[in-house]
């Protein structure tokens, strides 16, 4: 009886376990193996060359600039995204007329794929086919066409605008759920004790929203550190290699330089960095609770 029960349990777990094994553990082991080998895309495995692929990372002229840029981008995106999505969540958390419409409106960009959204913005920003410059000039706001992706700062700015537009609604929904889970009586009690709006926000909303905020932070930080599609489509790392992210570097090693070993080595390094970061984040989140 006990044994067969265990067996049933194992059978239930088998599909998921197998899924994880085939689509996570096996590729992970393969990446580890690749990172230790001389492995050109076209020729296949040519044998172990440890630690060449790892030592080559430091010699890669694009690596440290890419790390720096990825961190800078992550910092900017996370601050704006978390702030804005919190603001939006508070705006639409009430039950006033019309909030449903705004919730939907803010959330809509989320339903678009990132690559499609990037292509859409690529069109908007294009000096030859985009509508932005004609509109701005028509309204008399600018005289000259703006080079939306032409300088390093503008390219970064334009990409951040896309990402904020695309993801603010998603994080808003997470925070909205968190906000609505706070019992109204807590605010009631605070108001009776004479707390103002600001005090209520700092001493009630923020502490009780921590789990949701923590989730938003982890998702937005991890997502930004792994940024690829938006830069691949909007800037291709340019102008002048100013917007090359770490994942673009992995892509370049694998599919421009056809060196799977070098790409795998960078992947392993990024994986370890993310692992450490996520453990630290979860720890601090748990401590807070």
């Amino acid at each position: 009886m006990r044994y067969s029960r265990k067996l049933t349990g194992a059978a239930y777990a088998a599909p998921v376990a197998l899924f994880v094994l085939v689509f996570f553990v096996a590729p992970l082991l393969l990446v580890g193996r690749m990172s230790a080998s001389d492995w050109p895309l076209l020729a296949g495995d040519l044998g172990v060359n440890l630690p060449d692929n790892y030592t080559a990372i430091g010699d890669n002229r694009l690596f440290w600039p890419a790390v720096g840029f990825t961190l800078k981008y992550t910092g900017i995106v996370v601050v704006i995204l978390v702030g804005l999505s919190l603001g939006l969540a508070m705006l639409v958390s009430g039950t006033r007329k019309g909030t449903g419409f705004f919730r939907t409106a803010y959330f809509l960009p989320t339903t678009l794929g990132l690559a499609s959204a990037s292509l859409l913005f690529f069109g908007f920003y294009s000096p030859s086919i985009g509508p932005l410059d004609p509109i701005l000039q028509g309204l008399g706001i600018t005289d000259e066409p703006i080079s939306w992706l032409g300088t390093p700062n503008m390219a970064l700015f334009s990409t951040v605008v896309l990402i904020v537009w695309k993801f603010a609604g998603f994080f808003m929904i997470i925070l909205l759920v968190g906000l609505q889970a706070i019992p109204p009586d807590v605010y009631e009690a605070a108001r009776l004790d004479g707390a103002g709006r600001w005090q209520a926000f700092v001493h009630i909303t923020l502490p009780l929203l921590r789990p949701a905020l923590g989730l938003v932070l982890i998702l937005s930080i991890t997502g930004s550190l792994l940024a690829f599609d938006q830069f691949f489509i909007l800037t291709k790392g340019g102008p002048d290699n100013s917007t090359v992210t770490v994942v673009q570097l992995i892509y370049r090693e694998a599919f421009q330089r056809f060196d799977l070993g070098a790409a795998a080595a960078i992947s392993v390094v990024v994986l370890l960095a993310l692992l450490v970061l996520n453990i630290a984040q979860f720890r601090s989140l748990r401590r807070d609770q």
Binding site: P127, E144, G237
Partner: protein, 434 residues
């Protein structure tokens, strides 16, 4: 004991779950295709027996490939299934498929990237088949050369894409230039562009893809060749892109940028939309791919001319796609049937020449369609003198947006006017010879 009562159902559920797992496992393991064309006996004239062939090409040359495939399918038992892959992803897709032995029977390749694939053994050796063609000598010479490794031939020209000057005759007239006299030197080209830019409003002298390595080399290297200089040494391991001739070319374009004769957006143009402006009729004169000729609006009064060097001469970059049979194809004779047919006189004339395209052969320029299309004749004549540069590391050096070519040319056009390009040129050599 609810558990006991529902046990049969649970059992069934568990069985389904385990079954799903087995299917997943089978799907994930896939079927490693092996073998390939080596076992089939070579039939030089090809075999048309109703085989279904798979073929890949990139979006940039889709129009020509599609026309060829449609006509072949209509007149043959064999059927070719064409998959068109976005140009930017093509190398990635083909590279991955080659690594996994999952290539289609036929695949075209941007001719400059071909050496990477021919030397890696992704293509079947078709030397005997090519040599058996009575018109073998007339096949676009630079394509055949790049598709040859150690005297073995792997590729035939498929769709040719040459760089040529396109100029807008109406704008030439408005600017007081002779619409029948396109520029014959690059200096003259710059004068024309400036004169047209003077027209003002939304009219611009010229345009180029300023953040696109592939665009630069395709449109600017012919000027270097026309001047009698080289861009690389003959085995493609050393860069000569800081030569005085090359710098002269960069500086002429730089002057156009500084004088505002280039349409806005050039500095960030990544190569996706750079050919979109000229057909709208606002650009005076610019080098573009010959495949654009068939896509020009009918009411656009335009002409084409060879790309000149700073002091004269003419040349072109013979780009486009070569095509071969993949090494793992199980139907090489059927695949060859398509290739052989695609190069025949009737096919070349009725499909390519009729569409205003450049043909893969140099011996057919005297045909009924070209008689009414002087622009196509100019382009076709360039095939014989044009160049296709050879280097094993071409893609990662010149096309890759993070490669070392883009920094050099951007420094020359947008950077410090007195910059020393030799260090940047050394970086290109390092990439070529790595």
């Amino acid at each position: 004991m609810r558990f006991d009562k529902r046990r049969p159902a649970r059992r069934a559920a568990a069985a389904v779950a385990a079954g799903t797992a087995a299917v997943l496992l089978a799907a994930a393991c896939g079927d490693g295709r092996s073998g390939g064309g080596g076992d089939q006996e070579v039939v030089l004239e090809g075999v048309d027996d109703g085989t279904t062939l798979t073929m890949w090409t990139r979006a940039a040359t889709q129009a020509q490939s599609q026309a060829l495939v449609d006509a072949y399918n209509e007149s043959h038992e064999n059927q070719v299934e064409l998959s068109v892959i976005p140009t930017d992803d093509y190398q990635t897709r083909v590279g991955t498929a080659a690594g996994n032995q999952e290539l289609p029977d036929l695949f075209a390749i941007d001719v400059v990237l071909a050496p990477k694939f021919t030397t890696a053994g992704a293509y079947l050796d078709i030397t005997d088949r090519i040599d058996s063609l009575e018109f073998a000598d007339a096949l676009a010479p630079s394509h055949i050369e790049v598709g040859t490794v150690d005297d073995r031939k792997y590729l035939v020209p498929h769709t040719l894409d040459l760089s040529v000057l396109f100029y807008n005759k109406d704008l030439y007239e408005q600017a007081g230039l002779d619409p029948e006299k396109p520029p014959t030197t690059l200096v003259e080209f710059a004068e024309h562009a400036r004169a047209i830019a003077e027209l003002g409003d939304d009219i611009h002298g010229t345009f180029f893809g300023g953040n696109c390595g592939g665009c630069y080399l395709f449109t600017w290297w012919p000027s270097i060749w026309a001047e009698g200089a080289e861009v690389m040494n003959s085995d493609g391991t050393e860069s000569l892109l800081d030569s005085p001739e090359a710098q002269e070319v960069y500086s002429i374009w730089r002057g156009l940028v500084e004088d505002g004769a280039v349409a806005p957006g050039h500095a960030e143009e990544p190569g996706a939309t750079w050919t979109g402006l000229f057909p709208e009729g606002n650009i005076g004169v610019m080098p573009m791919p010959s495949t654009m000729l068939g896509l020009m609006p009918e009411d656009l009064n335009m002409g084409v001319a060879p790309i000149p060097g700073p002091s004269g001469g003419e040349s072109t970059f013979v780009g486009g796609d070569s095509i071969g049979i993949s090494a793992n194809s199980e139907h090489p004779n059927q695949a060859w049937d398509f290739l052989r047919w695609s190069l025949q006189e009737d096919t070349q004339i009725d499909i390519l020449a009729a569409g205003g395209d450049v043909m893969a052969r140099t011996d057919l320029a005297d045909n009924e369609y070209y008689a009414d299309n002087p622009n196509a004749v100019i382009m076709n004549d360039l095939v014989a003198i044009g160049r296709t540069p050879y280097s094993l590391n071409f893609g990662q050096t010149f096309n890759d947006p993070q490669g070392p070519w883009l920094p050099l040319v951007r420094e020359a056009v947008y950077g410090d006017p007195n910059a020393d390009l030799s260090a940047l040129n050394d970086a290109i050599t390092a990439s070529l010879s790595s």
